[in-house]
């Protein structure tokens, strides 16, 4: 070997592991109200600093501050809070259903409710969403019946997807909710294509898509950003940085080297970095991006800085790779708690009302679940007709599938 310094391979590691005390000292936060709000027609180059800041509206005392304050009326905020409570109650019930053996699998969005629900509020009802598996809040905010979601999770006779999909992989065109894949990131460039189609047709609808921090490492993330930029597609590209991709911390996806929002800069996309646990900040950023897209100014990349408070799924145990009290120590708090504190701070809500709203959400979930369970749960009760197994592979069933259906004896 020549007389040179030896190279060494770096493998990133998170600051803490099980048994350690949580340590978020590396998290750099902007103050609430501190980040400037550019005009919607600002040049991406002129606003590139926003990719390294953090748009926050709510401060620790629940005050809404700064240029990004969307100034929503209290009634809207109360409705949003109820939708977040309903989403959490729904998640809790379905998680329990999985533990009770009533379904095979479930994924909660605990701690990330604001990401989906604020977006649903900021977009138009007929805008098209291409979600990942943790945006059930979109469906709930758009009024998709809870019992339908449960029928899907239970793969029962009324499952709108006829027992074909893993639980939580919902689909509802009527609610502008694209069929969830499970293959990571595939929906990101598809959303760009949908948005290009909307522009091609001279429509006024826009699209939005969501991926996690881990999925930004997929090639489809690059294709989405590139195509969105090249064709100025009216689409909002959201990265939900919840710090964890199953057991891999965001540093494994490259999150330590630069912010995920900053990925947008190289594509010439405006890039916003938002406190994902701040309903008002998520709403404001989404509204900014939606207005920009609708003005034919193209796509925006938004990083939602949040924390996956629970496991990746029911098949995951996060205490095996991170401190068990990590979520409680997350410096940006809980999105439901923060919106509640805000509403109380402005005199539009009380602890009693919060408790009543929570009880109401739990009751609503209970009633829906009773109805769904009465139809059936996975392996118990009425299943979708087995005949339907061979349908929808193609529009019209070809001969070879007809024969196979006969062979199966149905």
């Amino acid at each position: 070997m020549k007389n040179r310094a030896r190279l060494s391979l770096r493998v990133p590691a998170p600051p803490t592991r099980p048994g350690d005390a949580p340590d978020f000292s590396g998290v750099k936060l902007s103050g609430a109200g501190d980040v400037e709000r550019p005009d919607i027609d600002a040049s991406p180059r002129d606003m590139s600093e926003l990719a390294f800041k953090l748009i926050r509206v709510l401060d620790d005392k629940g005050q809404a501050l700064g240029a990004w304050n969307p100034k929503l009326d209290p009634e809207t905020l109360r409705r949003a809070l109820r939708h977040m409570l309903l989403t959490r109650a729904y998640d809790d019930r379905m998680y329990r259903a999985q533990r009770q053996g009533k379904t095979s699998f479930y994924m909660k969005c605990t701690g990330e409710e604001a990401v989906a629900i604020a977006a649903a509020y900021a977009m138009d009802r007929d805008d098209m969403c291409f979600p990942s598996y943790r945006q059930q809040g979109l469906l709930i905010a758009r009024g998709y019946p809870l019992v339908q979601m449960m029928n899907q999770v239970y793969s029962n006779a009324r499952d709108p997807l006829k027992g074909r999909q893993l639980p939580i992989m919902y689909s509802s065109k009527e609610h502008g909710f694209f069929t969830i894949s499970g293959n990571l990131g595939t929906q990101f460039p598809q959303a760009v294509g949908w948005a290009m189609a909307s522009a091609y047709k001279g429509d006024d609808r826009i699209a939005a898509s969501w991926v996690g921090d881990g999925t930004t490492a997929e090639g489809d993330f690059h294709h989405a950003c590139n195509f969105a930029s090249v064709y100025r597609a009216p689409v909002i590209l959201n990265v939900v940085n919840n710090q964890w991709a199953i057991s891999s911390f965001a540093g494994i996806a490259g999150g330590n080297e630069s912010t995920f929002a900053s990925r947008g800069i190289g594509y010439g996309l405006p890039a916003l970095r938002v406190d994902g646990n701040d309903f008002l900040a998520v709403y404001a950023a989404t509204q900014w991006a939606a207005e920009r897209a609708r003005s034919n100014l193209g796509a925006t990349l938004i990083e939602h800085y949040t924390y996956r408070a629970e496991g990746h799924s029911t098949s995951d145990d996060p205490s095996r790779y991170r401190p068990s009290d990590d979520a409680k120590a997350w410096p940006l708090g809980d999105p439901i708690e923060r919106l509640k504190v805000h509403l109380i701070a402005i005199g539009e809500w009380s602890e009693d009302q919060q408790q009543a709203a929570h009880a109401e959400a739990v009751e609503q979930v209970k009633v829906a679940n009773k109805e769904a369970e009465a139809v059936g749960t996975l392996g118990h009760g009425e299943l979708p007709s087995i005949k339907t197994m061979f349908e929808d592979v193609f529009k019209d069933m070809p001969e070879h599938l007809r024969r196979q259906r006969q062979q199966m004896g149905v």
């Binding site: 006829k162 999909q165 689909s171 694209f178 460039p189 699209a207 489809d220 294709h223 193609f394």
Partner: protein, 337 residues
């Protein structure tokens, strides 16, 4: 009736559909202003406008993914992958997405898109411009795979594919874009205008998907082929002195089993030819299908003539390509069995 080679016929199909249906658009690498490296989209941007025929970044997964999104919106995109050899980056989008949208959403979302791509060897393209990857796609539930062998069929099948509500992979045998290459590489190839199949109507017509064509009737032996190999099979039968029945499958999925079975029950013998590698090639599926349906009618073992199980070798093109010499030997073996 105008005479067209396969490129002109495909161009005409796109032109007809761009004119007929405002939801049809076409895009891909070098497809727009330049008109495609094989000229299939020549003049379409000028005639139909920038947003109906345009260039894309070099990103096959992005091309197919955006087409899926457009299909979900309600458009009928036709995308070009410049060479089938470059389709693999888009494999996930084709296999996991386009092919499954209808099923996984219970019909809520569909992706009526066509992926056109030139495939096959015989052009000294080496391993990256010669592959025949059809079996990687025929294995996928929810995807139709179509391969024309003449200008007339190319136009009619492409129009059918564009009008079809399911995703269609449309593989174009590039060796026969300009004339029906019969596998005798040391002989000149006659251009398409010397053949009746180059009489292509200018307007709209269709050739149905899922229907094979008996391109030569015969009683001795059935030959199953598609793409360039249809012409190799026809020449081989002629030179073998046998009365072979040649079937051009035209669509691999869904497969026209009835036409195949009817023929093999008549001849009792079957030779399958394709350019793709042997192991797990589409010939294996054809052989199994024939055996399942015609076992008691078979007089001899089913023969497969295919590319060898190696990457496509540049310098040994004609040793690799399953030309008439090998096909004739197989025909003779099938007659002896």
């Amino acid at each position: 009736m105008p005479t067209m080679n396969m490129i002109q016929a495909l161009n005409s199909a796109l032109d007809v559909m761009l004119t007929k249906d405002p939801n049809v658009l076409t895009f891909g690498e070098d497809v727009g202003y330049f008109g495609g490296v094989f000229r299939v989209t020549d003049g379409l941007q000028k005639k139909h406008g920038l947003t109906r025929c345009f260039d894309t970044p070099i990103g096959e997964a992005g091309i197919v993914a955006t087409a899926i999104g457009m299909g979900a919106y309600g458009l009928r995109p036709v995308v070009e992958i410049q060479f089938a050899d470059y389709i693999y980056p888009a494999y996930d989008q084709i296999v996991s997405e386009a092919a499954r949208l209808r099923y996984r959403s219970a019909g809520d979302f569909t992706a009526p898109l066509v992926i056109r791509t030139p495939y096959g060897g015989g052009i000294f393209g080496g391993q990256t411009h010669s592959q025949s990857p059809e079996a990687l796609f025929t294995h996928v539930a929810g995807l139709k795979t179509v391969i024309p062998s003449t200008p007339y069929d190319a136009k009619g099948l492409l129009i059918s594919a564009i009008e079809d509500d399911d995703p269609v992979l449309f593989l174009e045998p590039k060796r026969i874009y300009n004339g029906p290459f019969d596998g005798y590489h040391d002989r000149p190839v006659s251009p398409w205008n010397k053949f009746a199949a180059s009489d292509v109507p200018e307007g709209h017509y269709t050739v149905p998907l899922g229907k094979a064509a008996v391109v030569r009737e015969g009683s001795d032996v059935t030959v199953l082929a598609y793409g360039t190999m249809v012409h190799v099979a026809l020449a081989s039968v002629a030179d073998s002195g046998l009365d072979g029945e040649v079937i051009d499958l035209r669509t691999l999925v869904p497969l026209d089993i009835e036409t195949i079975v009817t023929s093999v029950k008549k001849t009792g013998r079957c030779v399958i030819v394709h350019e793709a590698t042997h192991t797990s090639g589409f010939g294996a599926e054809l052989s199994a299908t024939v055996q399942e349906n015609c076992f008691h009618n078979l007089e001899a073992p089913i023969e497969r003539v295919t590319g060898w199980d190696t990457p496509y070798p540049h310098a040994f093109e004609w040793q690799y390509f399953p030309g008439p010499g090998r096909v004739i030997e197989a025909l003779k073996r099938a007659m002896e069995g």
